[in-house]
């Protein structure tokens, strides 16, 4: 697969957008402006961008509880997403639910669930509707390594296989579910579980946006054509804690160091420079994102809080 300069720069821009966006969220969280918990995907941007970019507008996603990257890449307006995270009326969901459960219908984001594993049964229904309505769309159903131990995962794999559903199961494997290493929870690799159900599976280096993009593009093409499920597992790492305020004593320092050395953004930047892209061009992108984030912060913090309305009661 050939990667044009324009595509690579676009990928960089999208990864930087996610990084800066989440750094802003983290900053706001430490300032006490964000309520409840936020799960950040800093370090995992290549997995988000590489796996979501190959989707088209008409395709659907079910993001995870750590889903800002997936949602932004699918087209979420950073202003409205940030407004949602700080609980404002202009937020994607009117500020009601925040970081962990945003829905973005305009961009075919059918909502993240705070309940791990809840996305799998829902994915089957989405896939079923796509099939019955004879749509050309496909669905990307995101989940973490730890979540693949929920029984619902297998049920969904089975239904997707039996019913020929156009679903790509996308595992963002960051090695841990909270403080517990995946290997302490399961001896079977995540993609092997999907493979049992006769679907095409791929693994990707989740720190290399090109690798993820290339493999996901292949699956998107295949699933769109053959109307059968598939799976991709992206190995990556979250640089921060499980949620904003986790000291993460459970991770060996060397492990963290090693993965940080594979920072997906730095990695792509280095490659671009090597390919002869000027540093200024990269800086320009970063400046552009800086502006966007600044705008989002202003928008979000300037927006009003929603007001309770008795019609909310049901």
């Amino acid at each position: 697969m050939e990667f044009s300069k324009a595509l690579l720069l676009d990928m960089l821009e999208k990864m930087v957008l996610i990084r800066r966006f989440e750094e802003k969220v983290y900053q706001l969280a430490t300032r006490g402006v964000v309520h409840g918990s936020v799960h950040l995907c800093i370090g995992e941007e290549a997995a988000s961008v590489g796996s979501t970019m190959p989707l088209e507008k008409k395709d659907y996603i079910l993001p995870t509880h750590r889903g800002h990257g997936q949602g932004l890449q699918k087209g979420a307006d950073p202003n409205r997403l940030l407004a949602e995270i700080v609980g404002r009326k202009e937020g994607l969901c009117k500020g009601r639910v925040g970081s962990m459960h945003f829905f973005d219908k305009d961009n075919n984001n059918l909502g993240a669930q705070g309940i791990l594993g809840a996305q799998f049964p829902i994915a089957v229904g989405v896939g079923l509707a796509i099939k019955l309505k004879k749509m050309d769309s496909i669905l990307a159903c995101y989940f973490g390594d730890g979540t693949s131990n929920q029984g619902t995962f297998f049920e969904a794999l089975n239904f997707a296989d039996m019913w020929d559903l156009p679903i790509i199961f996308v595992c963002i494997n960051n090695l841990y579910g909270m403080g517990t290493h995946y290997e302490d929870t399961c001896n079977i690799k995540v993609h092997q579980k999907a493979k049992l159900y006769n679907m095409e599976v791929k693994t990707a280096d989740g720190t290399d946006v090109k690798d993820v993009y290339k493999k996901m593009s292949g699956l998107v093409k295949k699933v769109r054509k053959e109307r059968r499920p598939a799976m991709i597992e992206c190995y990556t790492y979250r640089f921060l804690g499980h949620s904003a305020f986790d000291n993460r004593p459970y991770r060996p320092k060397e492990e963290v160091k090693e993965w940080k050395s594979k920072d997906p953004i730095k990695r792509l930047e280095a490659e671009l420079v090597q390919q002869g892209i000027k540093e200024e061009e990269i800086e320009k992108i970063k400046d552009k994102i800086e502006e966007i984030i600044k705008g989002s912060e202003e928008f979000a913090l300037g927006a009003d809080f929603p007001i309770f309305d008795p019609s909310m009661e049901t």
Partner: protein
Amino acid sequence: MREITYGEALREAMAEEMRKDEDVILIGEDVGKGYRGCFGVSTGLFEEFGPERIIDTPISENTILGSGIGASLMGMKPIVEIMFADFIGVCFDGILNQVSKINFMSGDQFNLNLVIRLPGGSGGGTGPHHSQCLEGIFQSIPGLNIVLPSNAYEAKGLLKTSISLGKPVLFFEHKKLYKLKSGVPEQEYAIPMGKGRIVQEGDDLTIVAVSYMVEVAKKVSEQLKKENGVNIEVIDPRTVVPLDTELIGNSVEKTSKLVILEEGPLRGGIGAEVAAIASEKFFDFLDYPVKRIASKNTPIPMTPSLEKEVIPTPERVVEEIRDFLGLKKGLLIKD
């Protein structure tokens, strides 16, 4: 008017809506090819609508329900059948955290048209895992419409309304009603959510009864009328969420006495909620304490000698109401 059974009425409702709207589908274990529904409710639907719309599934309640949630997120109008209401525990998270909350959580981006059909109630010896009336549990989860049709007419009208409501509906059917016939017009009709009905007028006592207990209430009233001269007003709220509080209030204002009759367990049942509402809102109308009649707080035993002690039989209901009114057999209320 022609008479059809409750089961047939449900089938007609589904078939009519499916003919009108391609987006209506039925999903569940053994609803199609092999069994036509565990209670035969979907007989003929597979033949008419085929396997793409009458969808048999593996035994995986979580994903059966999820199929409905996902399809309704995509704008379809799925009807999900959980073979016995008792199995809803298997996919309870779907109800608790998705079905009931998505409309709210999404900031009204979505309005789920999703009906979950739940055959419940004692079938006479079906035992603890196949006999429960679980509406008491679900009323405590904001965001669900809870519908309890008590005869064929109600079943058809309420199911048709539920299918396009734009809000999720838990549709509790009762096994003992499936074979029961009542008048159902040939032409279209609709029953709105949240509007109860007066099954029978009376001014001595109000009984609010749901589902199969409406049948029991009718029987009991007849007997108490004959044997004690009591005129009972029987109210079927039809939907317990939303609840037609006004209708109940008007009746209690007239009778000053309220009995709530349900088959679910007493503690935390819908009787608890109705009694609480009555004691908040109709305090001044009430001459007597509010009386709840319900199943005892045990699992539903299989053996008849225990089952009939646990669930409210007509005999027990008569007795409890006589006690409540301070009557004995043969003693007239106006005495």
